[in-house]
Amino acid sequence: MTRAPRHRAMGSRSRHRAPRRTRLGVLRLVLAVLVLAAGAVALTWPAPDPRAAAGTAAASAPVAAPVPGPVVLAEQPAPTAVPPTRVRVPAIGLDSGLVDLGLDATGALQAPTDDATAGWYAGGPAPGDVGPAVLAGHVDSVRGPAVFSRLGELTDGDRVLVDRADGSTATFTVTRVERHPKDAFPTDAVYGPTADAQLRLVTCGGDFDRSARSYEDNVVVFARMT
């Protein structure tokens, strides 16, 4: 940012100064001409086969024109963003529909209101798209186990299937399972950019703080699409 303008400024300054250093300037000019000439010879003289072939391919292009031609945008596939509809984890007998999740007033991810149903953070990537898609569900209710009660039993290599609204299914493989105190939640690891399609399953774990009516930890399952 700051470097480039400075570079430019220096360039123009040295150009202003050039007349005062004539001898050096001439030397530079001679060198520059030599370099250019050498470059031109190198470019035109031997003409190896592949370059010649490339030359004929581009023969219709106005190669000699000094002004560049049009600048256009390549056609690109539109981002898909197909919402997920179900999550299935055969290893722990999990099969749940998915509701959309948002953030609460404090900016925290809101768990589903129904403890028997998991949810998808709709403000993030959809499962199957590039990036970390995040699903959350309750580990238990006041009465007993809830939708993600057995999440902590998952191990590396277990499969997580996510059905999508277009009828397709994205298959993910668990790469690691972690438990972290909520006050030291690994935000970057869970929500940070990924170059491939990944999935996170989040629920509660660790000790239950009865006074706060809250588990102290979060269990996070990391998976990547396979």
Partner: protein, 293 residues
């Protein structure tokens, strides 16, 4: 209690109570590798990716042509030899170009053939996976068009991303305000052209400037990585304690439940230790549980 059973019980109880390791770094946590052909006058190439540690685990990307950026491939962390041969050339023939690239766990690299054919080079680009600041996206520019000896790229109303960027060079990543809907590309000696490009918060892009068949330039925004536009703060409240060992206010039940858990877990531990097929799955957790305290 015999010594063995005591050890087993301790192991099982620790595992049952600790449940999960606080952090893990498993060996199969892969990195990502992709390939790009960004040399305008170089014919299509076959690209060979070979693991130095495991030469048998090689991959070939056949006939990769100019302008191609492959999908990311998940690979085990390690060093990889990347070799380029002319499309269809004998795999045993000496490569036109080769280099090595180090791919770490949870990292992404792009190996690109860059520059004119006469001065072709293989460059390893580090793809940024760090979170952009809130409300920002991240862009870099790869100058891969011989038709523009240098070029400028900027986000209107935002910062310059590339200034006097020479052909075959790549900028570092620049944070830009998210929600931008266009980028301006100005080749040396040409006019500024504004192109519609959606820049989403939390996403990381490489803007490729390529020679356009028939003259001019083609611009493509390749998505390097993505993350939520708004990152939730902290963890998730996803439990009410119903399985935390009894109901609130009755301290006897949690103890009873824990005792039952000890018996069950101890039994399970014994059972699993005598069952070879399950042994592979359990030791990691036992070990982790022991490591914790």
């Amino acid at each position: 209690m015999t010594r063995t059973s005591r050890v087993l019980t301790v192991v099982a109880v620790t595992a049952a109570l600790a449940g999960l390791p606080m952090t893990t770094a498993t060996a199969d946590e892969g990195g990502l590798l992709r390939l790009a052909h960004l040399s305008p006058d170089t014919p299509a190439v076959d690209v060979y990716v070979d693991s130095v540690a495991d030469p048998a685990a090689g991959q070939v990307f056949p006939a990769v042509g100019y302008g191609t950026v492959s999908e990311y491939q998940s690979v085990p962390p390690g060093t990889y030899a990347i070799s380029m041969r002319g499309a269809g050339a004998d795999p045993a023939s000496p490569p036109v170009l080769s280099t090595t690239v180090e791919v770490g766990a949870d990292s992404a690299r792009t190996v690109a053939g860059v520059g004119p054919f006469a001065d072709l080079g293989l460059e390893v680009l580090e793809d940024d996976l760090t979170p952009p600041p809130a409300g920002s996206a991240r862009l870099r520019v790869v100058a891969a068009a011989a038709g523009a000896q240098s070029l400028d790229v900027a986000v209107p109303g935002g910062p310059a991303v590339a200034t006097d960027l020479a052909f075959a060079d790549t900028t570092g990543y620049v944070d830009v305000p998210a929600g931008a809907t266009s980028v301006t590309v100005t080749p040396e000696g040409g006019e500024a052209t504004e192109l519609p490009v959606q820049v989403a918060a939390g996403s990381v892009y490489s803007v490729l400037v390529l020679d356009r068949p028939g003259g001019g330039l083609t611009v493509r925004a390749a998505l390097d990585a993505a993350s939520p536009g708004v990152v939730p703060s902290g963890g998730v409240e996803a439990g009410a304690g119903g399985t935390a060992g009894g109901t609130a206010g009755s301290p006897a039940l949690p103890l009873a439940a824990t005792a039952a858990g000890v018996v069950l877990a101890g039994g399970a531990g014994l059972f699993l230790l005598t069952t070879r097929t399950h042994a592979a799955r359990v030791p990691g957790r036992h070990a982790a549980g022991r490591r914790r305290r």
